[in-house]
Each structure stands twice: as structure tokens, then as C-alpha cells.
């Protein structure tokens, strides 16, 4: 790894950490806009649904990742960075899709008799990027701030929607005194579905959090047919979409996504994912790709 890469990573660490400690966000985003996907949920409550903005901003992360080396080279002042929240926005169809996914998850949770509120534009980001980049000291420091925030709002249970947020909060339990109950929505629901797919597992759900069996049980019961292949979709041999590598190399990340897509498409043209970042990484190479929350009810 060359010095330039390390310096870029360190600048990113400092910038993201400073932003998080100041505003609960890794970089400036338009929170009002990204929390406008619902107005029907109670604000607050001891149980909340927690998006951590992942579905909403997944479509623009790549653009930030491409922009980041330039920002770190020219030391853009913070007030100008703030402007990026108005400049970098997902396309209308992307944002509609993410809003629809989150509303469908809400509907299914409610059908399963689960009640919860939402923090709307008070919602903080989870800090997952710090954990996944190995910035453990900063992750724990921000985790304490996050813990205090949730406690101050009287939150006892958090329902997460994506693997990165779920993993970050569950890991916080092992690293600091974070005792809020964390459940991912898939753990809480039974659902119906149809169609035939090959699953591209989220590495975090299926391996880091050991949900591989649970996910398959629920999908099999739903009516969705799954095609499996030991070398491509097993817990042992299934691999990453390349997404986490994009902070180091956008090009390598995309090449890995392409290779992964080729393997999946040999099994079925219809690919099912459960993570907004997997979707973003694989969708340029897979025409028929759906998030689980788009195909279940």
C-alpha cells in the first residue's frame, strides 16, 4: 500500500470522525429529504425502526467515494463540503425505490404485529464505516456518543433494515456498554413471496452474524424458490460483492463485483440481495436484481 493511499485513508478517517462527532453524520446529507419516506410513524417510542440512511444514500456513496480522493487532495473547506448535500443526490427513480423498500418493510413488520416509532430527521448514522475500515478507537468513541443519544431518547429496542447497521450495533455490544436490544427486520418477520432466484448473501448477515440458515429458512417458507451452488452460494464459498473495497479502490471494487456477478448469473439470471450496498455494486452487471424487501409481502 503506498503512502498516498494511507494518507487518503487517514484523511478520510479524520474527516468522517469529526463529522460524526459534530453532527452524527459521516458527511453532509439532506436529512429532511432522506427521512421524508414516511410521515405515518410515531416520532420516538421505546422501539424505533432505524435506517441509518443506508437505503436512501446507497446510490450516492459511490459518487462520494470517487469524489473523496479529490476532496482529500485539495482540502476542501467544511462549509463547501456542506454544499455537496445539495449537489450529490440520488436520481428520482433510485430514491423512489429506496422509499418503497422501507415502506414495504414497515408494512410487513406491522402485519407481524410489531409496533415502533421513527426518529425522522433526528436519526443518527451508525458509524459502520469506522468499524469496517478498522478505525476501532474512533468507532468506540462515536459508539459511546450514539449510545448516549439513544438512551436520551428512551430507546430500548432498535429495528435495523440493513446488514451494515445491524452489524455495527451488534458489535458495539461487544465493545462498549451498549445494552440496547438490536434486531434486524428479517429476524422479526414471516413473509410471502414468489419467483425463483439465486441469492447473493450479505457477508455480514450470513457469515459475520450467522444468519445464513435463518435467511434461507424464511425465504424457503415464503414461496420463493432458491437455486444453490456450493462454490457460489454456500456459507463457506459465497463471497463479497466487492463493495467494502471501494474506499481503497473503486476500480478493483467494481472488477470484483463483475466477477461475482458472472458467477451468480451462471446459476440464475434473477439475483436476490439483502443489502443496499450489494445492490449498488452488483446492479451494473446484473439486469434482474432485486432486494428481498422488493419481492416479499
Amino acid at each position: 500500500m503506498d503512502d498516498d493511499t494511507l494518507n487518503r485513508i487517514l484523511k478520510m478517517k479524520n474527516m468522517v470522525f469529526e463529522n460524526l462527532m459534530e453532527s452524527y453524520l459521516p458527511f453532509p446529507i439532506d436529512k429532511k429529504y432522506y427521512s421524508s419516506w414516511t410521515d405515518k410513524l410515531p416520532k420516538d417510542g421505546d422501539t424505533v425502526i432505524y435506517t441509518s440512511y443506508m437505503y436512501q444514500i446507497s446510490g450516492i456513496l459511490k459518487r462520494y467515494e470517487k469524489l473523496f480522493p479529490k476532496i482529500s487532495n485539495i482540502n476542501v473547506p467544511k462549509r463547501l463540503m456542506g454544499l455537496s448535500k445539495f449537489l450529490i443526490k440520488p436520481g428520482e427513480s433510485e430514491i423512489k425505490r429506496s422509499f418503497s423498500i422501507m415502506n414495504n418493510i414497515v408494512n410487513i413488520l406491522q402485519k407481524n404485529h410489531i409496533n415502533f416509532g421513527y426518529l425522522y430527521d433526528d436519526e443518527p448514522y451508525s458509524g459502520a464505516i469506522l468499524l469496517e475500515s478498522g478505525f476501532l478507537k474512533e468507532f468506540m468513541e462515536y459508539g459511546n456518543k450514539l449510545n448516549d443519544f439513544f438512551k436520551s431518547r428512551g430507546i430500548k429496542r432498535i429495528i435495523t433494515l440493513d446488514p451494515h447497521t445491524t452489524n455495527a450495533l451488534k458489535r458495539l455490544k461487544t465493545m462498549i456498554n451498549f445494552d440496547i436490544d438490536v434486531k434486524n427486520y428479517i429476524e422479526l418477520i414471516n413473509f410471502n413471496g414468489s419467483g425463483e432466484y439465486v441469492i447473493h448473501d450479505s457477508c455480514l448477515y450470513s457469515r459475520a452474524m450467522d444468519m445464513y440458515g435463518l435467511i434461507r429458512d424464511k425465504i424457503n417458507k415464503s414461496g420463493i424458490k432458491i437455486n444453490e451452488n456450493y462454490l457460489t452460494t454456500s456459507k463457506d464459498m459465497g463471497t463479497c460483492c466487492g463493495g467494502p473495497l471501494s474506499l481503497i479502490s473503486v476500480n478493483d471494487s467494481d472488477e470484483i463485483a463483475k466477477l461475482r456477478s458472472e458467477k451468480l448469473l451462471k446459476i440464475n439470471n434473477n439475483v436476490l440481495v439483502m443489502c443496499p450496498l450489494c445492490y449498488q455494486n452488483l446492479s451494473p452487471h446484473v439486469e434482474n436484481i432485486k432486494d428481498l424487501a422488493e419481492v416479499i409481502s
Binding site: M1, T5, L6, I9, L10, K13, L131, E132, S133, G134, F135, L136, K137, C203, L204, S206, R207, A208, Y230, L231, K235, D236, M237, G238, T239, C240, G242, G243, P244, L245, I248, D252, E255, I256, L259, R260
Partner: protein, 378 residues
């Protein structure tokens, strides 16, 4: 993207991964043995000085020589002291030999040094480094190998030569080297503290030659290879071979001291037919420091190499994911332990397959996360 590598790695995975799976399904005792081995190795890591001392006593009791080296340069000085003026040296595949740059150092002294594992021999004549812990030449295609052998061994070999004939040509060359060798240097797959035995596992038969034909056998390995008993050592080599896809292994070599005979009035006399000297060099090179840190679990690795094939970074970057010979997920840990090299950890995507397939149940993604932290905590 390297298309030649993509083809090679896909073939290797297709040949290896389902086979390992079948071995484990057909022989359920192996997973149980692996669990038992983990607990024995944890015991050793918790009491490393005791087990090093015990190994020393046992090696000496069996007529061998024991040496402890705190780092690579100390290990090389010990080796030079043993070899003295002997010139002809054969090596068996060992990552620790790369770790201490043994072949490089001995070649500089004008020794005639040859790797005898076929893959390592190919890596040697290619002036290359291994791409996998147990399959060092998987990055080389048959066509590339035929060219290498043509240029370095036998002009009659070409891309139409069969693999069998290529192997035959190398065998013929190496046989001359075995017969001329004065010193055989090997690694060790396991060392038993209670008997001071070195266990080496292989399929080619070269290690048998390396450990028996020369007058001096030197085994060099890390302190992490020590297990409490000979039974544990057998368990380690069986688990390693199985998870590497070789079950049953063709050969398990056990060396407990120099050759000896008791055939005349049951009086033990040494040497007999095999080596007159046996030396075991165990090397620390950062391992004790790692034992006392949050990287302790890394040292449970038995180097079966299975994690490589479940890793998207290795599949994509090949040996650039790590610092050869320590590449792949486990290589990221070994490079951190033995060389304090942390940078390649940033290429890890925490896909997690490495943890799933690890016989020692090492949480490799979390180890690599800690290594990333070491690199970026500035």
C-alpha cells in the same frame, strides 16, 4: 484484471473445495479432532515457555540438538554454524524458510541449494515467490511451466509435453541432488513437546528423501508448531492434510532425533543408515509478542490454506493479497505477526468465508480488523 490468474484460481478452487468438503463429510471424526486440537494449541499458547523448555528436553533426550532463535538473523547464524563447509543442500517446502530468507542467504554463501517440492522448485527456477501456502505454484499455468522447464532444465520439454513427463524430468534432476546432498533442511507441520518429534506431511516423497539421505537434517519452524503430545502432533497433521484436500496423506514422516539402530544386542547406536545429526530450530520472530496481544488467536493457524479459496481478495489479487510467502487471509495474520506488516489488511473485505472454513475456528475477519487498526491508528 489478470485473466491467467482468474483461470488458474478457478481451476484450483474447482479441484480443491468440493474435495475438502467430501473428505470432511466422509470422515466426521476430523472436525471433532480439529476441535480437540484447538484446545490443545490454546493450552500451548497460554504456556509457551513451558512447552518450549519441554520440547528442548525431549529433543536432547532423543539424541538431537535443540536451538531457539529469537529472530531470522539468529536462526540463520545457527544454520550457518551447523552447515559449516557443506555445500550441497536440499530443502523441503516451508514458509518459515522463506520467512528467514534461508535459500537467499545460503545461495549468497555459494551453497548449491535446491527446493525439492515440485511447486517450490518451479517457483525457484522462476525467481518467484509462492502464491499459496501449500500450493506455491498455482499461479503458473501448464504452458508457463513447460516454458520454464525448457529454459531451465530440459530443452526437449515444450507446451505439448505431458504433465507426467514434466514431473519425470524434474524427478530425474532432483534425484541427483538428493544423492549428492549433505544437508537436508525442512520445516515442520507439528512438533510434539513430550517426545521432541518433528512431523512432516507430504505426498511427493521428497521430504522422505530430504530427511533421510543427507547426513544432517535441520528442521526449522515457528514456536506455534509445538503441541503437547505426539498424539496431538498426529492430530495436527491429519487435520492439516484433510483441510488441504489430501486425505489420506501419502506420507507422514516422524523424526525423533538422528538415525539409530538397536539391532546388535539391543544396544542403541547412532547413526545408522539415515542422518548422523538432527537439529531442531524453533523461531520466535514476533510470535511471543503476538501471543501476548489481541492477535493471539492468529497463532492457532495450522496453515492448511483452505481460507484462501473462500476469500474474494485472494481470488482477485492473488499473491498480492499479502506479502509472500504469507498471502491470503491467514497470510495477513502471519505477516503482521512475523514482520509487523499491516498494510495489505486494507484489501480485506471481511467477506467471512475464511472464518467459516477454518479448522481452528479462528475469527480471521476480526483478527484482520485488528491489523487494519494497527495500520491506520496514526
Amino acid at each position: 484484471m489478470n485473466y491467467e490468474w482468474n483461470v488458474s484460481i478457478d481451476k484450483a478452487i474447482l479441484n480443491n473445495a468440493p474435495n475438502v468438503n467430501k473428505i470432511l463429510e466422509d470422515n466426521p471424526y476430523i472436525k471433532e479432532t480439529a476441535k480437540e486440537l484447538r484446545s490443545k494449541k490454546l493450552d500451548v499458547l497460554g504456556n509457551i515457555d513451558f512447552y518450549i523448555d519441554k520440547t528442548e528436553e525431549s529433543v536432547k533426550r532423543s539424541g538431537g540438538n535443540f536451538h531457539f532463535a529469537k529472530d531470522s538473523s539468529e536462526a540463520m547464524e545457527i544454520v550457518k554454524g551447523i552447515i559449516k563447509n557443506n555445500k550441497n543442500i536440499v530443502l523441503s517446502k516451508s514458509n518459515v524458510l522463506y520467512e528467514i530468507k534461508l535459500r537467499e542467504e545460503l545461495s549468497k554463501l555459494g551453497k548449491d541449494v535446491w527446493e525439492t517440492d515440485l511447486g517450490e522448485y518451479l517457483v525457484q527456477i522462476n525467481n518467484d515467490m509462492p502464491s499459496h501456502l501449500i500450493a506455491p505454484a498455482i499461479h503458473l499455468s501448464k504452458e508457463r511451466i513447460s516454458k520454464l522447464l525448457n529454459e531451465n532444465l530440459d530443452k526437449s520439454i515444450n507446451e505439448n509435453t505431458s504433465v507426467e513427463d514434466m514431473v519425470k524430468a524434474v524427478r530425474k534432476f532432483l534425484m541427483e541432488k538428493y544423492l549428492a546432498s549433505e544437508v537436508g533442511i525442512t520445516g515442520a507441520n507439528a512438533i510434539s513437546a513430550d517426545t521432541g518429534s518433528v512431523l512432516l506431511i507430504e505426498n511427493e516423497g521428497n521430504i522422505r528423501m530430504d530427511t533421510v539421505l543427507p547426513g544432517i537434517h535441520i528442521a526449522i519452524t515457528g514456536i506455534d508448531k509445538i503441541v503437547p503430545t505426539l498424539k496431538d502432533a498426529f492430530n495436527e497433521v491429519i487435520v492439516q492434510a484433510s483441510y488441504a484436500g489430501f486425505y489420506p496423506p501419502t506420507y507422514i514422516n516422524v523424526t525423533s532425533g538422528p538415525s539409530a539402530t538397536g539391532d546388535i544386542e539391543l544396544q542403541k547406536v547412532s547413526p545408522a543408515t539415515g542422518p548422523r545429526e538432527f537439529h531442531l530450530i524453533v523461531i520466535d520472530n514476533g510470535r511471543k509478542e503476538a501471543i501476548n496481544s489481541d492477535l493471539r488467536e492468529s497463532l492457532l493457524c495450522i496453515r492448511c490454506g483452505r481460507c484462501y479459496f473462500s476469500c474474494p481478495a485472494y481470488k482477485y489479487y492473488g499473491k498480492d493479497f499479502g506479502d509472500s510467502p504469507y498471502t491470503g487471509p491467514t497470510g495477513i495474520m502471519w505477516s503482521a505477526v512475523t514482520a509487523k506488516k499491516y498494510d495489505k489488511s486494507l484489501l480485506c473485505m471481511h467477506s467471512g468465508g475464511c472464518k467459516e472454513v477454518c479448522p481452528m475456528d479462528i475469527n480471521i475477519p476480526e483478527m484482520i480488523e485488528k491489523i487494519k487498526f494497527r495500520y491506520t491508528d496514526k
